[in-house]
Symmetry: C2
Subunit: 402 residues, 2 copies
């Protein structure tokens, strides 16, 4: 990105800062200032326009809070909150110091998620009733390897905790679609967990009894479902599923009074064209095919890719035209588009995924833990807008998800 | 079935009895006795070996109770219970009078459900952690038409009620797979409902404002999810989704420490071979394909039909051999196999889906209503075996689902 420079770097490990300084200087055409204490980097705020905080799930909130209190435009990586107070603190700091917080939830800018968003915004599904999303990704090997070889502590979240500890990939796109915090809000949830077996089984079978984690008690349920009720009566269902051998999925579903879309990655991997399966399947009343020989089983699925020509989101249309490659782009693209959304936000002083979204989405983690510990009790989700959701207006900007 | 005769008939509407008497006599080679009062039919119990009660969801329990109390082998159609007391009454009547009750849950004998059962029983999924099922079937037109033209009152369940009113198609196969009532049991559930919009919308758009139901308040949520916790720590998720335009699905999923299967009907309707899509997709660790170019996204789906040659259930192998048609049989077959299971049960004095199964499965309906009315409260599921589930032994018979 020729209009962007990384002017400062911080990592608690000096060797990482050293290793990154050269490549970053080359890409940014300027030598970055280097820090190993994030507070020093915050103090040097004249050196940059905004901070990206991609630290761990249990540190990015703490660092973001200090950054917001210093009035810095703050972008944070995804992850759930450990307490409601952490969410409230981010909201109050952003409000008090006039500093936007943006959550870098790349899945909100995914090609299929934006195709579905565009279809929904143009009324193709009718009135929305139900959305599903999730994070189904077998992390067993990764959790151990990144701990052992990369000073990465994510696996500690699987000891002691038990809840949807990574809710935003599955929730973000559909929270935006359901107008959460702008005309709607999430009011309550219930979570339920299966027992925890996958991770210790993988470790014992693949790392042997001598591995430091071989005798660890893991508490995080292998599969966790969370049902969320919205103020306007919609039902959201989330899944967290990261310790069992299974194909990756974000478990998407959008259902309304006129149609339904489901994520579907189940084609063969070499089946052309790739976007056929990666856009999912849908049925839209009055448009999609019907079976004529089965009186009460008439609706049929069709590939959502059939609607790309008409309903591709403008952000993706632009991106693919710039790439000159309209078929296979799926994941790199959403990161790029999201980062451009952030840069636009820094310039305009706004955040398309703002502090209220971040607080609400992150709160699902500690609330799902609370619900599970209380025997799947129904727990209230705070209104982090303090009532403003009733009147908050949607934004029109190019990168807006409203 | 040359070894079976229908020797008596009962319907509250005399014209229906009259219309059926001829065809039944021809098929059974004997003139059936005819009744319009079910109590009279129960009193004539020497006329038959067993009763099938396929009346409505809110009458079959009442009639079954009278039949059990008369010591009759009783088979009932599927459907949920209106109260826990109804479930207990069936259990106590069956125990006290030594009369088996069998629930005619045909989906338990579906080809793909039995393929998955066979795969699971032979350890292909490892230790089971999570199952999903549901009833996703757009009934809007059917509910109105059957009421207006066929004296069928099912639509009244959509007024006043709000819960999973038809849980057994989705629950039955997986309750058996998880050994519910024989070594395991369902201990608690939470349900959440979306608002209710689909049915009145369909009626107003298709039947006009003059239709008797055009101004009815429907209460049944369009989409209802129910999470069930099992004594051994497994998590079951059910969906009820019958008022929105969407393709049919029973939303099946079976997941364990070594693999996962999902129902999948998303191929094109004319895609050959039909069983490719109708058997669903799976991933089994160590057997299914892996992607080599994506380090942390390696597991791939493959068609479950790949496993038919080795893991087709013996009941289906026999059925398909008798049919001389191994490809397209799917629905008719499961009804036939289920009825043969019932006939075997009548002869042997047993029920492969017995009164404890029926009570537990039917109880999900009134418990989901209770949970929703109490704001998605966690509610206990009774142990209808009164503790016997801890020691109850699996049965070996040909039609056993244990």
């Amino acid at each position: 990105m020729s209009d962007v420079a990384v002017t400062a770097l911080c990592d608690i490990y000096p060797d990482r800062v050293d290793a990154l300084a050269g490549p970053v200087a080359e890409a940014s055409r300027i030598k970055p200032r280097a820090f190993t204490d994030y507070r020093a980097m915050i103090d040097a705020r004249s050196a940059y326009d905004a901070l990206i905080i991609p630290t761990s799930m249990i540190t990015h909130g703490i660092i973001a809070l200090d950054a917001l209190r210093a009035g810095i435009y703050t972008a944070i990586e995804v992850g759930g909150a450990a307490s409601l107070e952490e969410c409230w603190a981010l909201v109050r700091a952003s409000e008090e110091h006039g500093a936007p917080l943006m959550m870098l939830e790349n899945c909100c800018y995914g090609r299929r998620e934006l195709l579905v968003t565009n279809l929904a915004r143009q009324g193709q599904f009718g009135r929305l009733m139900h959305c599903r999303g999730g994070y189904a990704h077998n992390l067993s090997e990764l959790l151990v390897e990144e701990h052992d070889n990369n000073r990465h502590m994510r696996i500690y979240n699987y000891m002691g905790r038990n809840g949807d500890i990574y809710p935003t990939h599955g929730l973000g796109p559909y929270a935006k679609l359901l107008d959460i915090n702008k005309g709607n809000r999430m009011v309550s949830l219930v979570s339920m967990a299966s027992k925890s077996r996958g991770l210790p089984l993988w470790i014992s079978e693949n790392k042997g009894p001598g591995h430091p984690f071989a005798k660890t008690d893991f508490t995080q349920g292998d599969v966790i479902t969370t049902a969320i009720r919205c103020a306007n009566g919609e039902l959201i269902l989330l899944t967290h599923d990261t310790q069992l051998p299974r194909p990756y999925s974000r478990a998407g579903l959008v259902q309304g009074t006129k149609g339904i879309w489901i994520e579907s990655d189940i084609g063969k991997d070499d089946e052309p064209p790739l976007h056929f399966r990666r856009m999912g399947m849908l049925h839209i009343e009055g448009k999609s095919p019907m079976a004529h020989d089965r009186p009460n089983l008439r609706e049929l699925w069709e590939p959502a890719s059939n609607y790309l020509a008409e309903y591709e989101h403008p952000l993706w249309r632009e991106y693919l035209e710039a790439q000159g490659n309209g078929v296979n782009a799926i994941s790199a693209g959403m990161d790029t588009i999201m980062l451009r959304a952030m840069i636009d936000g820094i310039r305009e002083g706004r955040a398309p995924i703002d502090v209220y979204d971040a607080a609400a989405w992150m709160s699902i983690t500690c609330l799902s833990e609370e619900s599970i510990q209380a025997g799947s009790a129904s727990v209230a989700i705070p209104d982090f807008t303090s009532g403003k959701w009733i009147e908050r207006k949607k934004e029109a900007g190019k990168y807006s998800l409203d």
